[in-house]
Amino acid sequence: MKTSSSPTRFLDPAILSRLGSLELIARTVVEGFVSGLHQSPYLGFSVDFAEYRQYMPGDDIRRIDWKVFARSDRCYVKEYEGETNTNVYLLLDVSGSMGYQSASVSKIEYASYLAACLAYFAQRQKDNVGLVTFDDHLVDKLPARCRLGHLNSLLHLLDKVRPTAKTEFGRPLQALAETLRRKGIVVLISDLYAPPEDVVQSLRHFRFKGNDLVVFHILDPQERNFEFSRSLRMEDMETKRQIVMVPEAVRENYLRLLNGHIETLKKECGVLGADYLLLDTSRPLDYALYSYLYTRHKSM
């Protein structure tokens, strides 16, 4: 994976210039929208105090209620209702399989770019955007915020993800769904190497709470085409299991199973009301976003 010290490296101006002409339209307009076409679940800006919550690393220290700190010697930040138009939750799969790279960009890089773009875009829409990274458990969670510094925090979090462990959708996403108190847009960015029923089951929790679901299925071109040649010992990046194989002999079956997997996901997502978009890391990122927003636009 490529690394960079600049957290803004994900915000390619060229990509953003293309995205500037599109609007992210939330499917559900129950809670209204602010400057974008999408609707926020809560109308207008609000400065109404909602609750205190314990300070967490990443929170802007300016949001600490110093009075409470003075009284209790604990750091709490204030939560305000109606702080933004809608919440966008970016769920980023950081399991080991996401580290696969056959071209110039690995899947996790591509997914990070995508997440950053979406976050930036949501920021422009004055939406709260949060980021959750997970593998077989929740790795990092950045609550949805809309403040200026929040994007940097999000980008910083994106920058430090390292794919290692196995993928599991059920437990971490269920736990996440339990903590979401406001409806919003849940964006799942993953290679979805799990049984489709597990993926759908996990998403069903979010859907059950009224969230709008968008699924970005990220695959490497080599995963899609399986164009290996000559006998090789293939190692699973998550389980570390190794299999000696002749790719030519495996390819046909592999592609059949993969396409079946994709078709199943697409079908199940459709049934669930989630938007499914298969992205290939070889394709330009702006194209991927454009395709997605175009799809969303058509569906409105």
Binding site: Y100, S231, L232, I243, V244, V246, V250, L257
Partner: protein, 701 residues
């Protein structure tokens, strides 16, 4: 192709290795991280590594190189391109058994045989000793065991084909005997022949070669076996009151001709063409050509029957013979009265025009002359008794070298054969046996089959005699010195013989008419009667022709020479006797030769001419008709017969059974392993070049 170390061929299984390597391609099983093997693990496990051969050219080269190396280590050698070399680590004693029988004159057989023999000798190791044995119906070792190749090759080059027949068993026996005293540790017979089937008789062979004697056969016969020949000529006399005519019958045989063909058969008498006939030769078969009877003046003359047919063996197309008119011998047949009891006998002896006898039938009771000098033999048939005068006459007659035969019958009274006649009779007659209700008929129980009287019946069957019932016979007691030639089943003598002076006396205790048996009605009656008389008079039939290889008394070459030799008059040997052989060679026999050996070997076909005191005589010799039949016996058949006697044999057509030393020599001569190794090396070089290119391509990928 054979292999010196065939077990190395199992190493050929090693070609599995490169095939597996190409399938597995271990050199390319690099570790490739992949996002997830979720889909792969869902497939059947065996499909992960469903192999496909890659780099087929490389694989082919590797397999080829491996196979060539395996072949090279197996040390192959060809056996059909070169003759078997005779090289050994041990010293050998070899017998080169070279067939020079007449059949080897067919086309270029003998030249091929000599070439084969010379090749054998040329490949000998230095310490190998060789004896050359040429054989036909006789076998002759040309040398003692020798190691000098040049000498042996000179001997072989000097061998000429003979005109004699073939006898394989005798040759092999001689070879075996020679090897028994041979110095070599390994003993081998190299048998070069055309393997003519007439040279081998399955029934006669008691051939046993010593253990360890190896026999290798070399067949030089080729495939063309067609031949035609005049296999037999029979000359018979047709006597009439006015003249004696000769009739010639010739048997023409064809063996393995490719197609039936017409041919002319000529009869020449005294170098003059007398008659000519046309025949149509079957591819396999024989037919008789009968020439018209012709008159021939008394004396000896020569003749020949020639078959006008072109084949690679022309010598057997001619059959030479000698014509000699002999006076018929007179026989006196004495009986009582002129009854018909002697009818069968007189007809059997003198009834046919070509019979050598003339029968004078007389009544023993009449007042006839007692001068028996015109007769060669006297037959006393069924008379009651012999008067003393007749008895003494008979005694004198037989003592001078003539024959007498007593024949029994109903009239014979044992009492009548007492007294003086007992000196002439070979047995004392005691009683007469006659079958009746209480006495059964008897059959012949025993015959001396090798006796000249009965030997001629060998070709037919003795059952003609043994199936004849005898209802009567004279019981007798043979004298000392007498020989019983046939007995009845109760042991009683049927035919008794005894020498009397220089002559012979015979007693047939039963009848030769219909009194006591029905022999006169049997086909053997005539030859039996004639054999009886011929034996009694010591009748010698001079054949019209002999076979090449026959050894004849010098008297046969010229009767006068025989008489002179028998007379032992030394003055007769003051001059050398010359024999002109068929091909013009003159053989001079001096006194010493005549004393030393009174026999002469006929070793060429044609006419042998001898002149003694202006008496010129010819003897004809012809190639044995068995030699004209060129059909082959498989060498393996003979070899298998020999093998029964625990002898190691092998045929040239089965060179793979050669000894280890020979195989080693074969292989050493050809060095095929060297070429195979070189080829394998070249292939490996190409393989290396190609493999490097593939490797570079792989690395670049």
């Amino acid at each position: 192709m054979s292999f010196l170390s065939p077990l190395f061929l199992f190493a050929g299984l090693a070609i599995i290795a490169p095939i597996l390597l190409h399938l597995v391609r271990r050199e390319e099983t690099r570790k490739v991280p992949f996002s997830s093997l979720m889909f792969v693990t869902r497939m059947p496990k065996k499909s992960w590594r469903k192999q496909k051969l890659r780099h087929l050219l490389l694989l082919s080269l590797r397999v080829a190189a491996l196979l060539l190396l395996v072949l090279a280590f197996a040390r192959p050698f060809f056996t059909w391109k070169v003759s078997a070399p005779i090289q050994t680590l041990q010293s050998r004693s070899l017998i080169v058994l070279l067939d020079n029988s007449f059949s080897m004159r067919f086309a270029d057989r003998f030249e091929k045989a000599k070439t084969q023999a010379l090749q054998l000798v040329s490949r000998l190791a230095g310490r190998d000793s060789v004896q050359v044995v040429v054989f036909s119906d006789t076998s002759q070792a040309l040398n003692s065991p020798q190691t000098e190749r040049g000498t042996i090759q000179t001997l072989i080059r000097g061998v000429q084909p003979s005109y004699r027949s073939t006898n394989y068993a005798q040759a092999l026996k001689l070879a075996n005997q020679l090897l028994a005293s041979a110095p070599g540790e390994v003993r081998e017979i190299h048998w070069i022949s055309d393997f003519q089937q007439t040279g081998w008789n399955d029934a006669q062979q008691d051939l046993a070669l010593d253990e360890g004697v190896k026999v290798q056969s070399y067949d030089v016969a080729g495939t063309d076996l067609g031949n035609a020949a005049v296999s037999r000529v029979q000359v018979s006399e047709a006597r009439s009151a006015e003249s004696v005519q000769l009739k010639v019958r010739a048997e023409v045989s064809a063996f393995g001709l490719k197609a039936a063909a017409p041919a002319g058969v000529k009869l020449e008498i005294g170098d003059k063409l007398l008659q000519q006939k046309q025949v149509f030769l079957d591819p396999d078969g024989s037919q008789e050509v009968e020439f018209d009877p012709f008159n021939q003046p008394p004396g000896v003359s020569t003749g020949r029957v020639e078959l006008a047919y072109s084949d690679p063996l022309p010598l057997d197309n001619v059959f030479n013979f000698v014509l000699e008119q002999r006076k018929a011998q007179k026989l006196l047949l004495l009986a009582e009265g002129r009854d018909r009891s002697s009818l069968y006998l007189s007809k059997a002896l003198g009834g046919s025009p070509d019979s050598p006898f003339v029968v004078d039938l007389q009544d023993i009771g009449s007042n006839i002359s007692f001068d028996l000098s015109p007769y060669s033999a006297v037959l006393v048939n069924n008379v009651a008794g012999i008067t003393p005068r007749w008895a003494s006459t008979f005694y004198d007659f037989v003592s001078k070298g003539n024959g007498i035969i007593f024949l029994a019958g109903e009239r014979v009274s044992p009492v009548g054969f007492k007294g003086t006649i007992e000196k002439v009779l070979p047995a004392r007659i005691t009683a007469a046996y006659k079958a009746n209700a209480s006495r059964k008929e008897l059959f012949i129980g025993e015959i001396q089959k090798q006796h000249p009287i009965f030997k001629v019946f060998e070709a037919v069957h003795y059952s003609y005699f043994q199936s004849t019932p005898f209802s009567g016979y004279l019981q007798c007691a043979p004298h000392e010195g007498s020989q019983v030639l046939a007995r009845l089943e109760d042991g009683s003598p049927l035919l008794v013989e005894a020498p009397v002076g220089k002559g012979r006396s015979l007693l047939f205790t039963s009848s030769l008419n219909m009194d006591w048996n029905d022999l006169p009605l049997k086909s053997i009656f005539l030859p039996f009667c004639q054999q009886l008389v011929k034996y009694s008079v010591n009748f010698e039939e001079s054949p019209n022709a002999f076979s090449v290889g026959d050894v004849i008394p010098l008297g046969k070459l010229n009767p006068l020479l025989g008489k002179l030799l028998n007379s032992k008059r030394t003055e007769s040997f003051s001059q050398s006797w010359k024999i002109q052989k068929p091909f013009g060679e003159i053989v001079e026999l001096n006194d010493r030769d005549l004393f030393k050996s009174s026999f002469f070997t006929l070793d060429e076909p044609g006419l042998y001419q001898t002149t003694v005191r202006n008496s010129r005589n010819w003897v004809a010799a012809n190639v044995s008709n068995s030699e004209s039949d060129l059909r082959k016996v498989e060498p393996q058949k003979i070899l298998s017969a020999i093998r029964k006697n625990d002898t190691q044999t092998r045929s040239h057509s089965q060179p793979l059974q050669g000894s280890a030393d020979q195989r080693l020599a074969w292989e050493a001569q050809q060095h095929l392993w060297w070429f195979l190794g070189l080829l394998a090396l070249a292939i490996l070089l190409v393989e290396s070049f190609l493999a490097n290119r593939y490797y570079k391509d792989t690395v670049e990928q």
